[in-house]
Amino acid sequence: MRQHQSFAEWIDRAAGQIMIWPAVLILLAFSIFPLLVSAYLTVTRFRLAPGGFELRYVGWLNFKKLLFGSQQYHLLGTFSALTATDWLIFALAAGTAAWLFVGAVRSGTVGTVGLIGRLIAAAVLLALLLLALAVTGDGAFPGTLVVTVFYVLAGVSVQFLLGLGLALLCAQRILGRSVFRVVFFIPLTVTPVGIAYLFRMLADVGKGPLTPLLAAFGLGEVSWAADPWSARLVVLIGDTWQWTPFLFLILLAAVENQPRDQVEAARLDGAGDWQVFRDVTWPAIAPVAATVVLIRLIEAFKIIDLPNILTNGGPGIATESLTLHAFIAWRTQDLGGSAAVGYTLLAVAVVCCVSFFHFVVRRARAHERP
């Protein structure tokens, strides 16, 4: 009886852990284990062998090939000499980073880990800026790293602004607003590959539905797919069409949940639309906005379907993202190279998203607290 009681007590105490362990084990099996295996793959070379395959240890060769060797053009791009303007932009950014860092040190509120984190974030972001400047000059071409960062920054910015704008419009008491909400939501329900094929058909210059319109404006012989920036723009338009509804939905919920009494009080005090947005709505939705942008940032780094279907990464490698780069390496048995690209993406995405979380999301949430 005593033993039975103690066992029951133990069960009672350990119930939480017992309940959570299956989920932890599944997570380990399907997430952490592949992560570790792919980390091992980054230092190996895959070879076919009788009855299967073998992995040969090659050290840092896969990263060396990507950063300094034959695949440098692919990951980092083709460089040109930096101009005086480029150096000025970089110096301004470096100066701002240094000023912020010194400010953090002087404030005395940031611990050692926080300072190290700031240094890593500053180093990575400044390196990305320098790389972007070096591959956008005359005769230079960006690699998959800068193209991906472009998709992320440009895409998420445009999607956020459009999503916020639509959310503010749909929060108005206008006729048929429920219809608009459903219509704006539809693209999110379509599979990305479907959207890619849709845009491929729409953008077909030979037999697409816009061909007569383009011809009427004298653009019948212009091909968006042949120019790097127009091809990237088409990918970006497709991505925006797909993901704006996600931001729209979350922001709409946030806008509709803002304190109505504060809005009404502001209106009674004679505040205009802009003042209400700036002083009431924005502070109320900022925590949600920061969080949704963070979620979108994480997702945006993984873009693959649109460039893969729309352009196959072309013209040249102009529209190829890091994920597509890794995928192309994988399908030619270069598993080590593919894993190295994947880990490069992971490093950049983690630094960017953690920085965003620390400097934007947490501050927005802090502002939210009473």
């Binding site: 009855g51 395959f53 071409f141 012989e221 042949a226 196959n312 048995q333």
Partner: protein
């Protein structure tokens, strides 16, 4: 009691025997060899190639009882999907229809079933009717048979007979002729719809099936001494044959054709260029045998009986391997030249062929072989090669010798002579360029070559940089795989030993 038991037993025996006899009468010929067997066959997203497999699967099931499930994946994923399925021991794919040049990667580790004895014992396959090139190069590796040929592939140049007649021009013999015709025809209305059309349509999309095109153009500049000379690597030391004046001349042609092409040519795959050509929008195109049969499809073609085909054009100047310079053809350096023009037909891809997973169950392997044999037998094949949607092109001797099937399919005698003649000329050429068949050939061509050419077309790099990029990439792969080992594979694959 005993009598009753005996009587009942006799009745029971009679019923059983009667039942068996009745079943035998009711279901004559249904003692099907592969009843209950299911075969998962992988190939690329069609409709080509997948269509005939899917269409004929129910007929095969009715004959043999085996159910054939055709699984399709994009062409660029097919090689790796098969490899990962077989190399990791997943073995969800029992058989596949793929490029014979990939056989080298699949045979070495033992993924493919040796079917030498099965083919030898298979009278219905009529293997001797399969043209020697496909029988020996596409089906065999190291003297053993691993694949069943379902398709014959050569790249050729197709031209509009009416357009050339109107322009007073002859079909191209050299690539310079090709460019001249493209320039003359470009901008004219070629299909009577009132809008300007294109001189040349060549699939140049990246990560698709475009990377064979540049080799088709370069072949005539690079190889003049016969098949065993090779067009990809120097057979002495495995130096890539891509950083030289011959390859540069091919790149010039490749870039020049873009000027007389649709504006989005760099984003066109073979399906797109075929549609453009058969709807009358192009004067010239470079493609496999599919155009010949697609052009006679009354539902889609606007160029029925307006299409001619020639073996790949060549050059009056070729690469002298000793000096590294381009020299005029003479009887010594171009022994196979005709009218002073060196032509080297490129057996690009080699033709879709069926192979069987060695790790599949015995009964499944037998059933898969029976299916591929059924698909390749003249009764099926002779019809399928005349239908454009199948993607199958002629590969049997009888398909070249008998015009009846072609005429019945709607091809005129002139068109059939031109089409089959171009393939026969290619097949019989002693200067044929064999496709690359060394380990990881897909990385050499589908990644290094394809990416460099795409970057050149996009203006990211110039010709010299493109040639250097290909040479460096191929040399790097040689080193990774072992240059001596790759050289041995290469020499064996082109008969240089």
């Amino acid at each position: 009691m005993l009598h009753r038991v005996r009587k009942t037993g006799s009745r029971l025996a009679a019923y059983v025997l009667g039942g068996v006899a009745a079943l035998a009468v009711i279901t004559p010929g249904q003692a099907q060899e592969f009843e209950g067997v299911s075969i998962d066959v992988m190939t690329f997203t069609g409709p080509q190639i997948a269509e005939p497999l899917q269409r004929r699967a129910p007929d095969f099931a009715a004959l043999n009882g085996a159910e054939v499930n055709v699984i399709t994946v994009p062409f660029s994923d097919l090689y790796t999907k098969l490899l990962t399925d077989w190399a990791t021991g997943t073995n969800s794919v029992d058989a596949a229809v793929f490029a014979p040049q990939w056989m080298v990667d699949y045979v070495g580790p033992g993924f493919l079933q040796d079917i030498t004895d099965w083919v030898a014992a298979d009278e219905a396959l009529q293997v001797d009717d399969i043209a020697p090139f496909f029988r020996e190069f596409s089906q065999q590796y190291g003297g053993r048979t691993y694949l069943v040929t379902l398709d014959g592939d050569f790249q050729m140049v197709y031209y509009r007979t009416d357009v050339l007649a109107e322009l007073g021009l002859e079909p191209p013999e050299t690539w310079a002729d090709y460019v001249a015709i493209a320039a003359a025809a470009h901008g004219n209305d070629l299909n009577g719809d009132g809008s300007a059309d294109y001189g040349s349509c060549i699939a140049k999309k990246r990560n698709a099936q475009s990377y064979w095109m540049i080799t088709s153009i370069a072949a005539g500049y690079l190889q003049s001494q016969g098949t065993s000379q090779g067009a990809f690597f120097d057979t002495d030391d495995m130096t890539p044959l891509v950083d030289n004046p011959a390859f540069e001349a091919a790149l010039d042609v490749y870039l020049e054709t873009t000027q007389f092409a649709p504006p989005d040519e760099t984003n066109l795959d073979v399906g797109d260029t075929r549609a453009l050509f058969t709807t009358g929008r192009c004067a010239l195109t470079l493609d496999w045998g599919d155009i010949g049969t697609l052009a006679i499809d009354p539902e889609t073609s606007q160029v029925i009986d307006k299409v001619g085909a020639v073996m790949l054009p060549g050059s009056r100047q070729v690469l002298d391997r000793d000096s590294g310079e381009m020299v005029e053809c003479d009887s010594e350096i171009c022994p196979h030249a005709v009218n002073g023009v060196n032509r080297a037909p490129f057996a690009a891809f080699g033709g879709w062929s069926g192979g069987i997973n060695a790790a599949a169950d015995d009964q499944v392997k037998r059933a898969a072989y029976a299916f591929f044999s059924y698909m390749s037998q003249p009764a099926q094949s002779n019809h399928d090669v005349t239908v454009g949607i199948t993607g199958f092109n002629p590969y049997r001797i009888s398909q070249f010798e008998t015009l009846d099937n072609w005429l019945a399919a709607g091809m005129s005698e002139t068109a059939a002579d031109s089409y089959l003649g171009a393939i026969k000329d290619s097949l019989n050429s002693p200067n044929m360029v064999l496709d690359l068949r060394i380990p990881r050939n897909q990385a050499y061509q589908q990644v290094v070559l394809d990416t460099a050419i795409a970057r050149l077309l996009a203006g990211e790099i110039d010709k010299a940089q493109a040639m250097q990029a290909i040479a460096a990439g191929w040399s790097e792969l040689n080193e990774e795989e072992g240059t001596d080992a790759q050289l041995a594979f290469y020499r064996a694959s082109i008969g240089a030993d």
